[in-house]
């Protein structure tokens, strides 16, 4: 008798909570798909297409749909992969070999003596960071360049190269103690 009472009681409880959860799911339904936006925020926005999607947003959409792997963003590297995995509650995956080492930020530079003005790179640039017109020399707006390297393969005369930003007193960073390059001081001896 008591056993039956217990079973009934738990059945009733299960039904009650089930209804409650069902109601909550309807009542507090989240509109739209914020996951895409959240992932897009974490992507580096280089728009390089190395993930196989035509830009960062499409990759974010594919991720949200569960169509893409979490480890495709090469410029973002491992930190971005971990963040995406965290957002999507998926297992982290190892990155491809070229993305394990973080690359220093680079920008494209057009050798102005070699440029023939073919506008191919202008068409390739995902952020419109190259200026120029047909048969006129082109130039990269360094401030806008994301370093995606998409312009390099399309150049017929190989006049585009990637350059790192030069270290100046403004962008120099204190390294962590005992961590990175410790180069010996070049002190000129001052004889007494």
């Amino acid at each position: 008798m008591n056993a039956w009472l217990g079973i009934l009681l738990f059945l009733a409880l299960a039904v009650a909570f089930g209804l409650l959860l069902g109601y909550a799911a309807v009542r507090f339904k989240v509109e739209g798909d914020p996951v895409v936006e959240i992932i897009d925020q974490k992507l580096p926005q280089t728009q390089c297409g190395q993930c196989g999607y035509p830009g960062c947003k499409p990759y974010a959409e594919a991720l949200a749909k569960g169509e893409a792997d979490v480890n495709l963003c090469i410029p973002g590297g491992e930190p971005t992969m971990l963040e995406i995995a965290e957002i999507l509650k998926k297992d982290p995956k190892p990155m491809a070999a070229e993305a394990t080492e973080p690359k220093p930020p680079m920008v494209a530079l057009i050798d102005e003596n070699l440029c023939i003005g073919c506008v191919l790179c202008i068409k390739a640039c995902p952020v419109d960071a190259i200026l120029g017109a047909t048969k006129m020399m082109h130039t990269v707006i360094a401030k806008e360049c994301t370093g995606c390297e998409l312009c390099i393969p399309v150049c017929p005369v190989d006049c585009i190269s990637m350059v790192t930003e030069e270290v100046s007193s403004k962008n120099w960073k204190w390294p962590q103690p005992n961590s990175v390059t410790r180069i010996p001081v070049e002190v000129k001896a001052v004889e007494s």
Binding site: V127, D128, K173
Partner: protein
């Protein structure tokens, strides 16, 4: 005040200092801010010698950036002779200040020179070889020729003059002084003259207060008059009795003819009393709110040397070309204070002080608590250099694990928890460091000074700050890239639609070939005229760059030909360039072909094919080279 009361106050100060070493609460009878340390000061080292003046350096190095903000733009040429006070670099960018020649001489170079900066990077500087005559320009600031709208407005005139005179904060931060001041009178309630000089070893402000107290006060009065500041407080640390005496004497002498009376306050000797936040807390009991500046609560604080520079600019019409520098340290036999020209190399000054042994270690710019260890000793004195410190290196203590003893929190003048900051900074958890208010850290070094584990705490904070700043910059860049990408996608979509519309229209017409060619042309012409103009601008800029490159680079000849539109050879030249480009393209294709050949040729590609490809590539390369040579010959 008599010497007797002075001695009494010093004795009680000494007693309280000792007491507060045992009972931390006793510190509150001495001063008002939290924390602080009592290091060994060694101030008598450089004070034993009299002030040196009139030293003529062999070479002056004047970096274009001596201050916070943007660098100045050089306006002299190599080989040009300059006079003392002549402007050699102009403030074209906003937040920049001009640079003046400290003496007469010849500009021998405008090239990157090592900076007195922690990174040791080389940046653009003007190098002057003094002629020893010290010929000066008359009326260098031309105050009588102020812009007309400045004449009515004394504040605008004041700010204009000190900007033209190149006055920047000389206490250490190097903030352009004009930018620190408001644009309206009456906003400033207190002017604090900072003569605290709390760093060990440094005595240049002390010496300045002893020798030129009247000039400091004159600068303060000029400032107070222009901005209608009702209160002036002159704060000096108690360990400078001679400076206090001199300043008191000078105030007594000026009292009769000045509007605002200067209040002299002797503050306790504790590091970092001279910090802006700390001195304001000590004198007025006010805290500068987070993310605000002193001016926001009606306070302007100026270092004594800055006020003297203001006096020189406003009352004498002279730009800022020299400063007091302490040359001190245990490695020098005769440390001294010197009034020297901006641009004097450190090693020259260190040599003057008779080094005990050859200086084969790196010098420190500034004091031991907040100074910068130099990468290169041959760097110049800049406007913010207050001290050159030659301390032979001591054995370095190995950093041990943090034992969370909290000694650092005890001495932190802004009441942070340095041990927690360290923990998160080391783990690169930058958001956590911000939770613990990393950006309120003034990098005074008290925490690292007392750390029993000898952890370089300040460097961890500096690293964390730099990383966070970079992250913010990168986030901004990513946002910008995203917007540009979206704009581009929208544009492509629009162009596609337009093209489709055009095509539909043309279909009515008969000829298909024309339909293919014309819309393309139209489309490139169509998409908004603003775009075109921007492009044109960029083209002009590119052309200007080309011209500039022509002046300096080795390709001067060919570039000159290029920029000459009327020259008959221009046509040939372009042809040659085209040929070169074609050849390069061919070379590339050949190379690619060769590469793909290589890839596919795992087993059965004949050697001949490969050779052919290689030959073709070589030919193309040779053609490219030839074309290039031709073009440069032309």
């Amino acid at each position: 005040m008599s010497t007797k009361t002075m001695r009494m106050s010093q004795l009680s100060h000494q007693f309280l200092t000792k007491l507060s070493a045992i009972v931390p609460l006793a510190k509150h009878w001495l001063y008002k801010f939290h924390g602080g340390i009592f290091p060994d000061y060694h101030k008598d080292l450089a004070l034993k010698q009299p002030l040196r003046q009139g030293y003529m350096p062999k070479k002056l190095i004047l970096p274009l950036q001596q201050h916070m903000g943007e660098p100045a733009t050089a306006c002299v040429k190599v080989g040009e002779n300059v006079l003392k006070y002549q402007v050699i670099a102009q403030a074209i960018e906003p937040r920049s200040v001009p640079l003046h020649a400290p003496t007469s001489g010849k500009v021998v170079a405008i090239a990157p020179q090592p900076l007195p900066h922690a990174s040791g990077v080389a940046e653009m500087a003007i190098v002057i070889e003094p002629d020893g005559l010290d010929e000066a320009l008359t009326n260098p600031l031309q105050q009588d020729q102020l812009p007309p709208n400045n004449k009515q407005d004394p504040i605008a005139a004041f700010k204009h003059t000190i900007l033209n005179a190149g006055v920047v904060g000389m206490g250490g931060a190097g903030f352009p002084s004009y930018a620190k001041l408001p644009n309206q009178p009456g906003l400033v309630k207190h002017l604090i003259i900072n003569g605290a000089e709390c760093e060990p070893f440094i005595t240049c402000d002390d010496m300045l207060m002893q020798t030129h107290p009247a000039e400091i006060l004159a600068g303060a009065h000029a400032l107070a008059t222009a901005f209608q500041i009702p209160n002036i407080i002159f704060a000096i640390e108690s360990n400078k009795p001679n400076a206090i005496k001199a300043v008191r004497h000078a105030i007594a002498g000026q009292a009769s003819n000045s509007v605002v009376k200067v209040q002299l306050v002797e503050v306790a000797t504790v590091y970092p009393m001279g910090g802006q936040k700390q001195l304001i807390q000590e004198l007025l009991g006010l805290e500068i709110p987070h993310n605000k500046h002193a001016i926001d609560i009606g306070i302007v604080m100026m270092n004594v040397a800055t006020l003297r520079a203001i006096h020189h600019a406003i009352n004498l019409g002279l730009p800022s070309v020299s400063r007091f520098v302490t040359v001190s340290g245990h490695g020098l036999k005769e440390p001294f204070n010197i009034e020297t020209m901006i641009g004097t190399p450190f090693d020259e000054l260190a040599m003057l002080a008779k080094p005990a042994s050859s200086i084969n270690y790196s010098l420190i710019m500034g004091g031991p608590m907040m100074g910068v260890r130099l990468v290169n000793n041959h760097v110049p004195v800049i406007k913010t250099t207050n001290c050159i410190l030659a301390n032979p290196p001591e054995p370095i203590h190995q950093a041990m694990a943090c034992i969370r003893c909290g000694e650092c929190a005890e001495v932190c003048p802004v009441n942070l928890l340095p041990q927690q900051l360290y923990w998160h900074a080391k783990a690169q958890e930058f958001d956590k460091t911000q939770d613990y208010k990393l950006f309120d850290c003034i990098e005074c070094g008290c925490c690292a000074y007392v750390c029993p584990s000898h952890i370089p705490l300040v460097q961890y904070y500096r690293n964390a700050k730099a990383e966070i700043r970079e992250q913010h910059a990168q986030a901004a860049l990513a946002e910008q890239a995203k917007q540009r990408h979206e704009a581009r996608l929208a544009r492509i979509e629009r162009e596609k639609l337009e093209r489709e519309a055009k095509l539909a229209a043309k279909k009515a017409a008969v000829k298909a070939q024309a339909a293919e060619a014309t819309p393309k042309k139209d489309v490139t012409a169509e998409p908004a005229t603003t775009k075109l103009s921007a492009r044109e601008k960029a083209m002009q800029a590119a052309k200007a760059r080309q011209a500039a490159a022509a002046a300096s680079s080795k390709k001067a000849d060919s570039a000159a030909v290029k920029s000459e539109p009327a020259a008959p050879s221009a046509e040939d030249k372009r042809k040659a360039a085209m040929a070169a480009a074609k050849a390069r393209a061919a070379a590339k294709q050949a190379k690619q072909a060769q590469q793909s050949d290589k890839k596919s040729a795992t087993e059965s590609v004949s050697v001949e094919d490969k050779r052919k490809a290689a030959m073709a590539a070589a030919k193309a390369r040779a053609a490219a080279k030839k074309a290039q040579q031709e073009s440069s010959d032309a």
